[in-house]
Each structure stands twice: as structure tokens, then as C-alpha cells.
Amino acid sequence: MTIALASVLEIHPQVAVRPEAFGALAYHYGNRRLIFLKHPDVVTVVQALHDHPDVQTTLSACGVSQDRWPSFIAALTSLETSEVVREREITR
């Protein structure tokens, strides 16, 4: 899946996130993988995904400046591949 600013995401329900000085550790109870979130801002964004309608709104709400958005899209794409985040079903 390609992540875009309009993507609607959430933390995978089988993933636990533990903050650490360098960012956070994420553990996927399903595939038992340990994943490193290597920047505190990425952690903030990942944890806020659920509270906002899409990625762009999340990035703005977390105070991430627009010039950094491409790197966050890249980070979220990689986190989607490792199943730390996933597409959120939109409930109406």
C-alpha cells in the first residue's frame, strides 16, 4: 500500500508501543517482530493517527513542518509494511 497525505491510518491493534529515549519500540504480538521507531516525533505522530481523519491532519496537529512531510510519509510507509500501522476502516 502506498501511504499518502490522505491515507487514513491507525496503530495495528496487535501492536504495543513503548517510548524510549531514542523514540520508541513497537512490538507486534502477531508476527512477534520488534520494530524501532527512531525519532520521538514519529512516535508522536503514530500515536496521534487515530485521533485525526487522515495523515495530513495528524502531521499538522503534531506540529510537523511541511518540509518534513515527505520523510514522515516514508516512515509511515515502512511502518505500514512492517504492520505497525494499518489502514483504518472509516465508520460513519
Binding site: 504495543a16 517510548p19 524510549e20 529515549a21 519500540l25 524501532f36 525519532h39
Partner: protein
């Protein structure tokens, strides 16, 4: 952030361990000659069920995602399943190591019905002769029966865990085939001179030529074979093996022993590497976060005699436990340094003069005295 700086971050320690081993008991039905914890007899100071649950509560609050349970043979504890279920229901996945003696058909089904559970069956030879020479008579059959039962119960992917010795290096391909047959994952780890292994390491550890064989074999099999990142001393051969290239002791790794003592890693059961006890005020958290030992292990470590070696970045000087129990200085080469830089130092250390493992729960040896011939 690059991978390298991530490793630097990890060296400064984490808020909670990511690889916590908890030996539940020193009791064991076997007497493996290389047992890291010199297990055999139960220690009467063993943590009670309630105490064990309190630790699990604490680990849950620290967000420890999973624990590695071992022993001794953890399944000899009567509350084994109770603790397993308590752990998993608190969001702490469990991987436990067993010799398989107690995995009968019924237990296999019970285990197969649980989530977030990994099982590691110990096996040190594909044939009974090779395995039983190290793990004791009948232990090969015991492990195979357990694996058959797990397979029949559709447990899914368990692990076959092999300690690599000079007698089974040549069997690596066969171990892999055996794992494939069972739909299991192969895990091979390094033999450490810890526990009873301190007495047998000199005879059992792979030769230098075999170390090269292990390295080449691991490079070929990549991430399909687990190693617990235990072979990073071999990175000095060249390309880095998969995994964290660092000693995790007290930084990302620790051991809780059956009586609640907390050590820097499972291979250093010795007072020098004891950080505290979970029964102390403040519990495990305080030991992990504040013990002098762990804080000092998180400080930058000196490369010592290895500083001038071009391979130091690759091998990091190897394993602290391996150096300690062979009597080598901690800031020098690993006893299995692939460049041979420890050979001279090792050769002048008198056998028996290296530090002795801290606790011994081995069963007393029963001496069967042969009758002397009449008239002798």
C-alpha cells in the same frame, strides 16, 4: 537515524529490557554438561507463585513485550501453566526453553491452544549419540517425542535450539533439515563457559576452523536461522551477521534467576554481575533502572587491548561472560577471538584459576564403588 547510532542508543540502556530471561527453577530432570545455570536441584528460596505473579505485574507495567522462560526445566514447576497463562493474559508473550520431557500429548494440545507462546526444544545433536553425550542418556528421544507431540497437536512453528559444540558443527545442515521436517525454526547459539559449561568449555567449544564454518553457514542462511545475536564475535571474519552487533548485558538484556536475583545476562551467574534482587524494595524496576552495576554497564566501555585491532568495530571484543569465566580481562579479546589474539593469554591461565560460577545446584554425584577384586 542510522543503524549504527541506534546501536549506540541501545548501549546506553533502555527503560526496560527487550530480552529478559527468567529462569523459573533450578530443578531439572537432566544434568547437561554445559548447563549455564548449573541446574539440577530445586532451591528452597525459589520465588513463590504469588511472588512470580507480582514480577509479571511489574513487567506488564514496564511494557516488557515478551519474556524468555527457562531453568532448570521450567515445566517441573507445578504452577508452570498458571504462570504462563497469567503472563500471556497480561500482554507478556512467552518463549520458553524446555528439554521436552513433560510435553506429552495432552500438554502439547494445551500448549497449542495458547496464544503468544513460543516453545524452544533443546537439542544438541541430530543423533542420540551426539546429543546424549552432552545432555544425558535418553534426552534425544525425549526431545523428539516432544516435537512429535507438538506437531501432532498442530502447535505451529516451534523452535529447535542448538548449542553449537565441536561435535555438532558438522550437523548444521541436518539440524536445518530436521527443523524443516517439523515446520520448526532452527536456533543455534554459542556455547558459553558459564555454569557447568565453565568446566566443559575447553573440550567442547568449536575449533577456530569450525568457527569459520559456523560463520559461513550463518551468512548463507541469513535471517532464516535464529542466533540470539550470540555469534557477533565472528563478525571479525568480515561481513556482519544479521542482528544487533553488541553485548546487551544490563543494557537491553538481563536475567532473573529462580530466587529473584537479577544478573546482567543469562551467562553470568556470579556475584560480580549480580545487580540486585526482585524481593528488594523497589522490585525489579529499581534494579533495572538504578543498580550501580547496570548503570556502569551502560557507560562507554573501554576497548582495552583490542583498541589497536582493526576488527574491533566488527566484533566489539566479543562476549563479557566468555572472557570472565575463562579468566581473561574484560577489556581484551574474547577467548574465541577469530584472530587468535586471546590464545596466548588463555594458554597461561592455569585451569581452575578462572572465576567459579556463583551458584551450583547440580545434583550430587552418586559414586558407584566398584568392588575391589578379592585379595587386592
Amino acid at each position: 537515524m542510522s543503524a549504527k547510532s541506534l546501536v549506540e542508543e541501545m548501549k546506553r540502556g533502555l527503560d526496560a529490557p527487550i530480552c529478559l530471561t527468567w529462569e523459573l527453577t533450578y530443578a531439572c530432570n537432566l544434568q547437561c554438561v554445559h548447563c549455564l545455570s548449573s541446574s539440577g536441584q530445586r532451591d528452597e528460596r525459589e520465588l513463590s507463585t504469588d511472588e512470580a505473579k507480582k514480577i509479571l505485574d511489574e513487567l506488564r507495567d514496564l511494557q516488557v513485550f515478551y519474556i524468555n522462560i527457562g531453568g532448570g526445566e521450567p515445566m517441573v514447576r507445578r504452577d508452570f501453566f498458571e504462570l504462563l497463562e497469567y503472563s500471556v493474559s497480561n500482554g507478556i508473550g512467552v518463549k520458553f526453553s524446555t528439554n521436552g520431557a513433560f510435553i506429552d500429548e495432552e500438554k502439547a494440545q494445551r500448549l497449542a491452544a495458547m496464544d503468544y507462546l513460543d516453545i524452544q526444544i533443546s537439542l544438541d545433536g541430530v543423533d542420540a549419540a551426539t546429543n546424549d553425550a552432552v545432555r544425558g542418556e535418553g534426552s534425544h528421544a525425549m526431545a523428539i517425542r516432544a516435537m512429535d507431540n507438538l506437531k501432532a497437536a498442530n502447535f505451529g512453528q516451534f523452535k529447535i535450539s542448538v548449542v553449537v559444540t565441536r561435535h555438532n558443527v558438522s550437523q548444521l545442515d541436518e539440524f536445518k533439515a530436521l527443523a524443516d521436517f517439523y515446520g520448526a525454526q532452527l536456533r543455534i547459539t554459542r556455547l558459553r563457559p558459564a555454569g557447568r559449561g565453565a568446566d566443559t568449555w575447553h573440550e567442547l567449544h568449536p575449533t577456530n576452523a569450525q568457527q569459520r564454518e559456523i560463520y559461513d553457514w550463518l551468512l548463507k542462511h541469513g535471517e532464516n536461522v535464529l542466533t540470539g545475536d550470540s555469534f557477533f564475535h565472528l563478525n571479525a571474519f568480515g561481513e556482519a551477521l544479521p542482528g544487533l552487533n553488541m553485548c546487551g548485558a544490563g543494557r537491553v538484556v538481563c536475567l532473573i534467576d529462580p530466587i529473584g536475583d537479577v544478573y546482567a545476562c543469562p551467562f553470568v551467574i556470579h556475584d560480580e554481575f549480580k545487580a540486585g534482587n526482585v524481593r528488594d524494595e523497589g522490585g525489579f524496576s529499581k534494579v533495572w533502572k538504578q543498580s550501580d552495576l547496570f548503570l556502569s554497564l551502560r557507560e562507554p566501555q573501554s576497548a582495552g587491548a583490542c583498541a589497536s585491532c582493526g576488527a574491533f568495530d566488527a566484533c566489539q571484543g566479543g562476549c563479557m561472560a566468555a572472557k570472565f569465566f575463562t579468566g581473561l580481562p574484560l577489556d581484551g579479546p574474547d577467548p574465541e577471538c577469530v584472530a587468535g589474539d586471546a590464545d596466548e593469554a588463555l594458554s597461561v591461565i592455569a585451569r581452575g584459576s578462572a572465576p567459579k560460577p556463583g551458584m551450583d545446584h547440580s545434583k550430587p554425584i552418586t559414586l558407584t564403588r566398584k568392588k575391589l577384586p578379592v585379595g587386592a
